[in-house]
């Protein structure tokens, strides 16, 4: 009967990112959603609970405006939510998020297993999961597309570049999941209605224990042009080389 914590981010909906004429990214008119990969983590937690019992606690670190995300998360299966929030939490870098989560979890939330998405669908730094495991001093298994639980032993299939790596670990542990681990459920009407009745524990920054300085500073955020570039290369060897180089520079190959 594992006690599971599932972490989620109330993330900017990347589909709402539109380049301004100035090349800046306007973040004042965007919608928010539960980060896509975290939906997979929530679903994995719900499925583990259905199979093994226990409990599921959803946790997020965000500004108070993310309150809306709590109901969304709770409608996807968790029993309760922990809402670590402060107005200053609007641009946390992964080290801060992980430290805050670790502080709160260590003091308040007993657990056997922590589930995270492999990264967030907005910034996709893929750091919070492994950093959180390191902060808590527990084993970490990343990029998992299948979880099997046998008592306190967890078997996981990691999908890596060179194939599948099946690993075994004793709980407590942290697992980050890939999108193909499951198809997240679309909450039914009753799931949404019942989500409002589930308990939410609100935690302020002062209660998370310690300081959480930023170690990474964003110095610029520029929109990539959505207009097609319409660059043409000649149909000779040099042109083809230039094309491959251009593809490499744009990150399209590799």
């Amino acid at each position: 009967m594992p006690d599971i914590i599932t972490c989620f981010k109330w993330a900017v909906d990347e589909a709402d990112i539109r380049p301004q004429a100035s090349g800046e990214v306007a973040l004042d008119r965007v919608g928010y959603k539960i980060s896509e990969y975290d939906r997979n983590a929530l679903e994995a937690a719900a499925q583990l609970k259905e199979a093994h019992g226990g409990s599921v606690t959803a946790i997020t670190v965000a500004t108070p405006a993310a309150k809306k995300g709590l109901k969304d998360a709770l409608s996807r299966g968790p029993d309760r939510a922990c809402f670590v929030n402060d107005a200053a939490f609007d641009a946390l870098e992964p080290a801060q998020t992980a430290a805050l989560l670790a502080g709160v979890i260590r003091d308040r939330l007993p657990f056997d297993l922590i589930l995270c998405g492999e990264g967030s669908s907005d910034l996709y730094a893929q750091q919070v999961g492994p950093r959180l495991a390191q902060e808590l001093g527990i084993p970490c298994v990343t990029y998992v597309n299948r979880i099997t639980l046998e008592g306190s032993t967890l078997l996981a299939e990691r999908k890596l570049e060179d194939g599948i790596e099946v690993v075994k670990v004793e709980l407590p542990a942290l697992v980050t999941v890939l999108p193909d681990i499951n198809t997240p459920r679309i909450p039914g009407l009753k799931d949404t209605l019942e989500a409002s009745k589930k308990p939410v524990q609100s935690v302020g920054p002062g209660e998370a224990g310690g300081e959480f300085p930023a170690r990474l500073q964003t110095v610029a955020l520029r929109a990539t042009s959505m207009e097609r570039r319409c660059v043409r290369f000649p149909a000779d060897d040099a042109g083809i080389r230039e094309l491959v180089e251009a593809l490499r520079k744009s990150g399209a190959i590799g």
């Binding site: 309150k67 409608s75 009407l189 009753k190 209605l193």
Partner: protein, 379 residues
């Protein structure tokens, strides 16, 4: 008036939208072409608790307000108006009268499976010779011992081919005019009930529309719905409620027309720029967005009045009249924006135009709505 949705309503809207994108959009062209009822979609909707959603949980519903229900009809219709209609017709006309007028016994027996999506409901009022002029109905019910014996023909009955439970209106007192009509619950397995072939329609082709023939159809007295002679009043009240559903369906069509137009206008290049940069297109889109907002406000307003227990007949008629005519107008504009491609089969805007037309006709034509509205404002 404030139509800001609650967090719950926003989540429900987002979820039903995701559901439609995942399960309905991919089959919408096929069910239109083949006039196929997408039962698999409704099985999922039932599993997710959407069927019977505005009715109390004790009867298998979800106990939401009517505004949330209207929003769900709108979102389903945005994806496929035929499916949105089947949903609203079952939930509104096929289920509502039993909730409003049924005895506790009738509710347990019929309402619960209707709300859970285990049984399909249908509303059998229209006759070949009695459309808007409901009082011209000739179907009769004659008392015979513990039973009523019904004879007559009903036409354009939605869900007719597969409904399990029909609410049939028949004249029980030929001398009493409008006060001589009563309602009955007739089940599919009644040997006196024959269902004809489903009609081939211009639009909402996945909705199954059929004629039903009642020949010496015997129903127990306990299956009369509401009071004897009260049928026409019940039918009219049910249609008020149903009109919000049709208005919501038209709002969904309007939204889809706008969605498609915006997408196409930004992608179609003519004269070296997207056609959306032409003022001619911008004006069409501005009008479309404005009428969409107006139609939605009227519809949500009528639903809110109903939720508050206030009279809403006039508002429901206004919402249906405005939304359906706006849907027709702008579905046509959406085809115009798409040019020749918009006229091709398999295009969503082509389907929207065909689907929009019926919203001006059923559950009271635009002319009938104007009669209702005039009757309310000129008294």
């Amino acid at each position: 008036m404030d139509f800001r949705l609650t967090e719950e309503q926003e989540l429900i809207r987002a979820n039903i939208r995701e559901f439609c994108q995942q399960y309905l959009d991919p089959i919408a062209v096929e069910i239109d072409e083949n006039s196929r009822h997408p039962q698999e979609v409704f099985d999922r909707l039932a599993e997710m608790g959407f069927m019977g959603m505005p009715y109390p949980q004790e009867y298998g519903g979800a106990g939401t307000d009517f505004l949330t229900y209207a929003m769900v009809v709108e979102e389903i219709s945005r994806s496929c108006a035929g499916t949105g209609f089947t949903f609203s017709c079952h939930t509104g006309l096929g289920t509502g009268p039993i909730y409003e007028y049924g005895t506790e016994e009738q509710k347990q027996k019929y309402l619960v499976p209707l709300c859970k999506g285990q049984k399909w409901g249908a509303f059998a009022l229209t006759e070949p010779g009695a459309g808007t002029d409901v009082n011209a109905a000739t179907t009769v019910a004659v008392a015979d011992g513990d039973e009523w014996v019904i004879n007559g023909t009903k036409t354009f009955i939605s869900q007719g081919t597969f409904a399990d439970i029909f609410i049939v209106f028949a004249r029980t007192d030929p001398a009493a005019g409008p006060k001589g009509i009563s309602a009955f619950i007739v089940t599919k397995d009644n040997p006196g009930l024959k269902v004809g072939e489903h009609f081939r329609k211009m639009g909402i082709r996945c909705s199954q529309t059929a004629e039903i023939i009642l020949k010496d159809c015997r129903v127990p007295r306990s299956d009369m719905l509401g009071k004897e002679g009260n049928g026409l009043r019940m039918a009219m009240a049910s249609l008020d409620n149903g009109r919000i559903g049709i208005a919501a369906q038209a709002v969904g069509i309007l939204q889809a027309a706008l969605d498609e137009s915006l997408k196409y206008a930004s992608q179609r290049i003519q004269f070296n720029k997207p056609i959306g940069r032409q003022q001619a297109i911008q004006w069409m889109i501005a009008d479309m967005a404005t009428d969409l907002a107006a139609a939605r406000h009227l519809t949500y307003h009528a639903a809110t009045l109903k939720d508050q227990g206030l009279p809403y007949t006039k508002e429901a008629s206004m919402a249906k009249l405005f939304a359906s005519e706006a849907a027709m107008r702008h579905a046509s504009k959406a085809v115009q924006i798409h040019g020749g491609y918009g006229y091709m089969k398999g295009q969503k805007v082509e389907r929207l135009l065909r689907d929009a037309k019926i919203t001006e006709i059923y559950e009271g034509t635009s002319e009938a709505q104007r009669m209702v509205i005039a009757g309310n404002v000129m008294r």
